[in-house]
């Protein structure tokens, strides 16, 4: 007979950990979670999203927030089509993201040795996103200070701001202590995220980004609309928390 007859874990050593329900055996012998006998579903457990908390800035200084307000207003400006990134709360979104695991590059491999590498090899800076923003904002304001007679980025005209952003995008402007191009790429991506992500994260206030496009948000069931070919559906957007009209604040 091929089957090994040796016993599995000694059942006397089963530690029924407090949260385990029913017949699920949670065995602690091997210092890791051992699951057998049932699906280890537990009532009242949900892997909930980590949402933005209201309140004061968690990452940006007041000067940095002014820079971000100005920069994201040029990336997605307020106009006849609707609110821009600033009005939609993208500065708050960026602030909370940079204060959290994304800002710290918590999931990224951040060990050396460090080399520049080829473009196809991707991000090779030892700076986390939070460090990139901090260094780049300082360096861009210093650049503007020299180029535009003592003015910071936020104080420039919109044409001058566009000129600076274009210089960063193309890599024509060299910054002290940060890579202009990779900062711009990051800022554009994160602004897009803030404008179009669920309002839970601080941006897309009143679902301004979703309304701009006609995206109805976190809808669960579109079956009635599959065969409605070539028709505008006019569905009001809904977020994970519901609609603005449903919430007190």
């Amino acid at each position: 007979m091929y089957i090994v007859t040796s016993p599995k874990f000694d059942r006397r050593q089963i530690l029924s950990v407090g949260v385990a329900a029913g017949s699920v055996a949670v065995i602690d012998q091997a210092q890791a979670r051992s699951i057998s006998g049932d699906v280890p579903w537990e009532p009242g457990q949900a892997n909930k999203p980590d949402t933005a908390k209201p309140g004061p800035s968690e990452f940006f200084s007041p000067e940095e927030a002014q820079f971000i307000d100005a920069a994201v207003s040029r990336i997605i400006p307020a106009d006849a089509l609707g609110p821009g990134a600033k009005e939609a709360g993208v500065t708050v979104f960026l602030d909370r993201q940079l204060a959290g695991p994304y800002g710290q590059a918590a999931q990224w491999y951040m060990q050396g040795p460090w080399a520049k590498g080829e473009k196809t090899q991707g991000y090779q800076s030892k700076m986390s996103p939070a460090e990139v923003y901090r260094a780049a904002i300082k360096a861009i304001d210093a650049y503007c200070n020299g180029k535009f007679s003592g003015k910071k980025f936020a104080a420039l005209t919109t044409e001058q701001q566009d000129q600076v952003l274009t210089g960063l995008e193309k890599g024509d402007i060299k910054l002290d202590g940060a890579d202009a191009k990779s900062f711009f790429t990051m800022l554009l991506q994160n602004t897009t995220e803030g404008f179009f992500s669920d309002p839970l994260y601080g941006g897309n206030k009143d679902m301004a980004g979703w309304k701009l496009l006609g995206f109805p948000g976190a809808h669960y069931d579109y079956r009635p609309y599959v065969k409605k070919h070539n028709q505008k559906l006019g569905l009001a957007p809904v977020g994970i928390k519901g609609r603005p009209g449903w919430n007190a604040g």
Binding site: A30, A32, R33, I35, W41, P49, Q111
Partner: protein, 586 residues
């Protein structure tokens, strides 16, 4: 020093699709099975319930279900003359961590490979003459006919929605006429079709093609699979790939197998345990178990009668290299096998912009689309084209998630008021045609151990050396041109063909279709495993998954991964357990 645990019959390294299938089959055969998974337990109602599943930022952009490079990543370079550098964050492909693996966050596009794909070298050489020396394409050592019952079994496990194109050799109108003969139709009818793929299908038919609804692991109706597990009808919510399905409507280990397997007395799962090494006996003829490290950093030796490597594609050859199993591949000499023939996919697209059509892109499902297969594999004459292989063209409507999907016409600025206006104007009225091309294996595309960089456990990282060759670029350009022909027949305002140019780039997301490195074949000199995915070196070691593909055909891999796994399981149950030893004589 690792502490030794009581032995088990079977240990699985990783607990995604392949280990779930094998776990079900081998516990049925009476074996005591243990799965060791580096990530945590995941279930629908806890981890991606409908109340919070549709969260683009969290799951896609903050990588909630994916592997963390901080713990395990690889180094990458385009060619052997460069120094490989770590993939510091995810981009081009998105492997998972956790129970269910990438089977949780896939789209559900579930294809069979063509009969000729399994004999790619002999078939192409017979028709077109000798292949270039550096093109290390091989036959699989298994045929489509051998796999057919196992494709069928996987499709019925998953409840695939689709329309047969070839039933026992009879071509069926409305299905894919190029597919290999199937013994019966799909278990579920095709999904209801949204507008854009319908228009694509009309244009494809008008230009002489045979469009068909693409096979989908998204349920077109309620379904109870042969294990008795029930799936609900898809609600077209548009959150499939990169997301868990909150609605039990997309086939995954969680929605097809685990409710049965987890209740079995002869099955155990250990989560948050990372296997570091496969152990072998002193003669080097048998695997004796694995060493793993638990969440507290303690090392354990788990003896087992059989070891199955069921981790994501390239993690299996990585573990073999770390364990000193098999001869590492050397691109200079062409000798050795472990790490050989890493391949991927080459994709391109044609955006199609309208003024007078509303597509509502957010009404979507992961495999909701219409495809054509005229330009896949060897379905067309390649004489004079300068390449072999091909891919399908499809108009999918998978999602309208706005961070990812906000198409703008060529020449639109990347930011500012004009960009904003272009996003608003085109969001509801744009669709695209995708091309999904094969990657043929090449002498210099391979996996080995990195000499410099180490993972969190102090082990050498895997080093990936990969680039597209002339074959891929010529083929992908050809596919993009054919997609452009059909886009023109859709009478759009404007079209934008996005050819795949330049070197392979690990930054932008492309597909999670990594293949090769532990390839199957008929000869131990040129392959790692035999047709039953059994190691040529250690007969009780099986290496399962897309790492077995000798090259990567022009379809999504999961259908074939499922079929190969069932094929292996059957041989183990009917032959190996009675008489443990090599299932194929070298």
């Amino acid at each position: 020093m690792a502490k030794k645990l009581p032995p088990v019959d079977v240990v699985f390294v990783g607990f995604g699709w392949t280990a779930a299938i094998l776990g079900q089959e081998l516990t049925d055969a009476g074996l005591n099975c243990l799965a060791i998974e580096r990530g945590g337990w995941r279930d629908t109602s806890t981890d991606f319930a409908v109340t919070f599943a549709q969260d683009e930022l969290r799951y896609m952009w903050r990588r909630a279900l994916f592997e963390e490079p901080a713990r395990e990543t690889l180094t990458f370079r385009n060619d052997p003359t460069q120094t490989a550098l770590p993939m510091r964050h995810l981009g081009s492909f998105l492997p998972a961590t956790g129970v269910g693996g990438a089977g949780i966050h896939w789209n559900g596009q579930t294809w069979r490979f063509l009969p000729s794909d399994f004999v790619a070298r002999s078939h192409n050489e017979r028709r077109y003459g000798k292949l270039p020396d550096d093109m290390t394409v091989q036959d699989w050592g298994v045929t489509y006919d051998e796999l057919e019952p196992h494709y069928d079994k996987f499709e019925y496990l998953c409840g695939i929605s689709g329309k047969a194109g070839n039933l026992k050799g009879q071509i069926q109108p409305g299905g894919n006429p190029f597919e290999g003969a199937r013994s019966r139709d799909y278990p579920n009818p095709p999904l209801d079709m949204v507008y854009a793929p319908t228009l694509f299908g009309e244009a494809a038919a008008k230009t002489g093609h045979k469009p068909f609804p693409c096979p989908a692991a998204n349920m077109s109706r309620p379904y109870t699979n042969p294990l008795g597990v029930q799936l609900g009808p898809c609600t077209y919510c548009g959150f499939c790939e990169k997301f868990g399905c909150g609605n039990y409507s997309k086939a995954s280990p969680q929605t097809t197998i685990l409710p049965v397997l987890m209740r079995k007395k002869n099955f155990e799962l250990r989560t948050e345990c990372n296997v570091l090494k496969v152990l072998k006996d002193s003669a080097g003829k048998r695997a004796t178990g694995v060493v793993y490290i638990d969440a507290q950093g303690e090392e354990w030796e788990q003896p087992a009668e059989m070891v199955f490597l069921c981790a994501f594609a390239h993690h299996n050859p990585h573990l073999m290299l770390l364990s000193g199993i098999g001869t590492p591949y050397d691109p200079k000499t062409g000798q050795g096998v472990v790490g050989k023939n890493y391949a991927y996919q080459i994709v391109s697209g044609v955006d199609v912009f309208f003024d007078d059509k509303i597509f509502n892109p957010f009404v979507g499902a992961g495999a909701l689309g219409v495809g054509i297969d005229e330009y896949n594999g060897d379905n067309f004459d390649h004489t004079g084209l300068g390449f072999i292989g091909g891919g399908y063209l499809a108009c999918w409507q998978t999602n309208g998630r706005p961070i990812e999907t906000h198409p703008t016409p060529e020449g639109t600025p990347k930011w500012g008021a004009k960009w904003k206006a272009a996003m608003a104007k085109n969001y509801l009225t744009t669709t695209s045609i995708s091309t999904h091309g094969a990657v043929m294996s090449h002498r210099n595309n391979y996996l080995d151990l990195d000499p410099t960089y180490r993972n969190i456990y102090g082990q050498p990282m895997l080093r990936m050396t990969f680039d597209y060759t002339d074959n891929e670029h010529k083929m992908s350009d050809y596919l993009t041109d054919r997609a452009t022909d059909i886009a023109k027949a859709m009478n759009a305002r404007e079209i934008h063909a996005k050819k795949r140019t330049g070197h392979y780039d690990i930054v932008p997301y492309q597909t999670t279709h990594n293949t090769g490195g532990a390839i199957m074949g008929a000869d131990p000199k040129t392959s790692v495993v035999n047709k039953y995915l059994q190691s040529w070196d250690l007969h009780n070691l099986f290496v399962v998954g897309s790492g077995a593909f000798p090259q990567n055909p022009g379809y999504n891999p999961t259908g074939t991964i499922g079929a190969l796994t069932y094929h292996a399981a059957e041989a183990i149950r009917t032959q190996y357990l009675k008489n443990p030893g090599p299932l194929v004589q070298a």
